[in-house]
């Protein structure tokens, strides 16, 4: 059982390394970073306590929001999805990404206290 799981994972990793264009790998690295940051914040909250709660929430939501926006960006600039995003060029996707981030950061900064 574990054997098949390991083989599936290794195969997945191989395919990923070979078939994914570099741009997407850059975005994926960013996604991993955001994920780790959020997870660590959550770990702190579990270990030390929720004081101050608003700061924890704003940090966590910032991570979650950034993750989602980056995923959207990745989907939109992926060349294999070009068929579904006819009207959205990669530049447009990036501009949207930046604008959404501005709004997100405004809210997060307001809430961080």
């Amino acid at each position: 059982m574990s054997n098949s799981v390991i083989s599936v994972i290794s195969r997945f990793l191989d395919e990923y390394k070979t078939t994914t264009p570099n741009k997407l790998k850059v975005v994926d690295a960013y996604l991993l970073y955001i994920l780790l940051t959020g997870a660590l914040q959550f770990l702190y909250c579990l270990l030390v306590g929720t004081f101050p709660f608003n700061s924890f929430l704003s940090g966590f939501i910032s991570c979650v929001g950034s993750f989602i926006l980056a995923v959207c960006l990745r989907i939109q600039i992926n060349p294999t999805n070009k068929g579904e995003f006819q009207s959205v060029s990669p530049e447009r996707a990036f501009a949207d990404f930046l604008f959404a981030h501005t709004v997100l950061h405004l809210v997060v900064m307001n809430f961080i206290g």
Binding site: L40, V48, G49, T102
Partner: protein
């Protein structure tokens, strides 16, 4: 009294559907005397003289000095003024042997005042003067003039004066229309809580209306269109005020009182008990005073108890029993029917005159009695019942010669019976208390003795259970029995015996302080909300470093992937874009530290728009480059 009347209306008016409203206000003898004194005060002008002389005449009293009054009228008379003639003429009619000098001009002036151009008040004065002086007048002309004036002046006072004028006219004239005016005026009365009926113009207008209505009805021998309930409500309104502001108000009230006592159709009757409504063996008769609103006794009436119901048991004790008239009071020997002590509801009916209004009255009568304490047994009962019970009987009102000692192994018990002295029936009064008074400290503890099913009162003092009430103070206590009730004529406070109580674990101090209820209490310090405990700085710093570590990972990964900025075109828009973007991020930090939302939005708008424009340009250039590469 008003409260009970209101309650009665609700309960009985709905249940029986009959009008059971009775007068809650009337003129007592002292009120009548006060009214006469007020009207009899010294007058300085003709109008006050009129109110005084005529008012007192109506009440049956006379002015102090009739001749002096007559001289005053003659001296003050102004023969050219209709009002002056009216006051003098009507007042002189009330005085014996007083004649106002007349002349032809007088008659002409008065007749000229009877026209459609004068006000109703002027017509009233003219007609009043003409009839008082015995001069002829054309009644039909007056009726026409009044009709016109009523249509023009529609207020209550004018219509009332018109009715009073009509009452002085000959019966040949068409006066029937005025009776309808009474009904219209009745509709304009304000109902206050179902108890009072009066005009918003005030008490005087209401009283004048009553005088006018009954004056006209008596004159025409037509029953006024007033319901019985309305008559009583008018009575309540008019006689609720016992001191009057002006002579005219007192005059109107006197007129209304006389009208309501002696008209041909409605005479409200006032029924009240003489003294407190209580009967007992020493005073077995219930005496009622039946009067009209002027507190004049109505001897010709016959009074009957329709039913007398005991309030406790709802059983009917008396039915259709007449009262006997003796010395102006109506009496009934209630004790002859041997009622048990308590409260009784009497329904009394006054008959004998078809004019009587509110002649069914509800009265609450109390039957009181005297109580005697019998079979008072005091005993010390041992808890394990190993030693026999020691009982001693005490006779009221002497105190027991033995003293009783009880400690924690024993209970002190008391049993007695309360009986009615006259009938021997066992009683259960409202208050049966046992009071123990510590002779040394003055501490007092009170208990309630309760009757069992056979109405035998028992009281038991369990030393252990009750020690908290006594604060465990041992000592000699004097025992008192207190018996009281509203229906008892002889409340009892009896020092029965002395009891020595011994408590274990005496905790209380030797001198008892009175319960410290009123000394200043300890001050409460306000506790402000404690700020939450922060984790130690070391932990916070460690985690901050930990959180920043993924950023390093990101940089490493990016370097491994070969992400670079080699493609960076130094176009002005790109540079501007990056600067703008960096400025926005910087603004975020400054927002966190210094600014508020409004300022941030302001700066963000400026920087953001610049960045947007530059970014747009830059991305467009990139897109073009990408297209070219393809």
């Amino acid at each position: 009294m008003a409260q009970t009347s209101w309650l009665r209306v609700f309960l009985f008016g709905f249940a029986l559907g009959a009008q059971a409203l009775t007068p809650s206000h009337y003129l007592s003898l002292s009120d009548v005397a006060r009214l006469e004194t007020f009207l009899g005060q010294h007058f300085t002008d003709l109008q006050s003289a009129y109110y005084s002389i005529v008012g007192l005449a109506k009440l049956g009293a006379g002015v102090a000095d009739q001749d002096e009054a007559c001289q005053f009228l003659k001296a003050q008379l102004d023969p050219t003024s209709v009002d002056s003639l009216f006051y003098a003429a009507v007042a002189s009619q009330a005085l014996a042997g007083c004649e106002i000098p007349l002349s032809n001009e007088t008659r002409d002036i008065l007749l000229a005042a009877v026209s459609e151009d004068s006000t109703v008040a002027q017509i009233h004065h003219a007609v009043g003067a003409l009839t008082a002086l015995g001069l002829p007048l054309a009644s039909q002309e007056v009726v026409t003039a009044l009709r016109v004036r009523i249509n023009k002046e529609e207020n209550v006072v004018a219509i009332t004066l018109a009715l009073q004028t009509a009452a002085r006219l000959s019966q040949q004239a068409e006066l029937g229309g005025f009776v309808e005016e009474i009904e219209d005026l009745t509709a304009r009365l304000d109902d206050l809580g179902g108890l009072y009926l009066q005009f918003e113009e005030g008490l005087e207008a209401t009283a004048d209306f009553v005088v006018a209505a009954y004056g006209l009805s008596d004159h025409l021998d037509v029953e006024p269109p007033l319901k019985e309930e309305q008559v009583i409500q008018l009575v309540n309104s008019i006689f609720s005020k016992k001191s009057w502001d002006s002579m005219s108000e007192a005059f109107s009230v006197a007129g209304a009182a006389v009208a309501l006592s002696s008209n041909r159709f409605h005479v409200p009757v006032v029924v009240r008990a003489e003294g407190p409504a209580t009967v007992s063996h020493s005073k077995p008769t219930l005496q009622l005073l039946i009067t009209n609103v002027l507190s004049q006794p109505m001897g010709s009436a016959s009074v009957l108890v329709e039913s007398a119901t005991a309030l406790a048991t709802k059983s009917v004790v008396l039915s259709q029993t007449p009262f006997t008239l003796r010395d102006g009071l109506f009496e009934l020997n209630f004790m002859s029917s041997q009622p048990a002590s308590g409260y009784y509801q009497f329904t009394v009916a006054v008959t004998g005159d078809s004019r009587l209004v509110a002649n069914h009255v509800e009265l609450k009568v109390k039957v009181s009695t005297e109580v005697a304490i019998t079979n008072m047994d005091l005993s010390i009962v041992d808890k394990d019942q190993s030693i026999g019970t020691k009982t001693s009987r005490v006779e009221f009102p002497s105190k027991s010669k033995d003293s009783f000692t009880a400690d924690s192994h024993q209970n002190f018990a008391m049993a007695f019976q309360l009986v009615d002295v006259n009938t021997g029936v066992e009683l259960t009064p409202h208050q049966t208390f046992v009071r123990l008074l510590n002779q040394k400290t003055g501490q007092e503890v009170v208990f309630v003795a309760e009757p069992d099913s056979k109405k035998l009162y028992k009281f038991e003092l369990d030393m252990v259970e009750r020690k908290s009430e006594f604060d465990s103070m041992s000592g000699t206590y004097s025992l008192h029995l207190m018996v009281g009730d509203a229906t008892l004529e002889n409340p009892i406070l009896w020092n029965v015996a002395d009891v020595i109580l011994k408590f274990l674990d005496e905790e209380a101090p030797a001198v008892i302080q009175p319960k410290t209820l009123y000394i200043p209490k300890p001050e409460i310090q306000h506790l402000f909300r404690e700020p939450e405990k922060k984790p130690p700085t070391v932990v916070s710093n460690a985690f901050t470093a930990l959180i920043l570590s993924p950023f390093l990972l990101l940089l490493i990964l990016w370097m491994k992937l070969g992400a670079n900025i080699s493609n960076f075109s130094m176009s002005p828009s790109a540079v501007l874009f990056h600067i703008g973007h960096a400025a926005m991020l910087g603004l975020m930090y400054v927002y966190w530290t210094h600014l508020d939302m409004f300022q941030t939005l302001k700066y963000l708008a400026i920087i953001g728009s610049l960045t947007f424009l530059a970014g747009n340009r830059m991305l467009a250039q990139k897109a073009v480059k990408r297209m070219e590469k393809k």
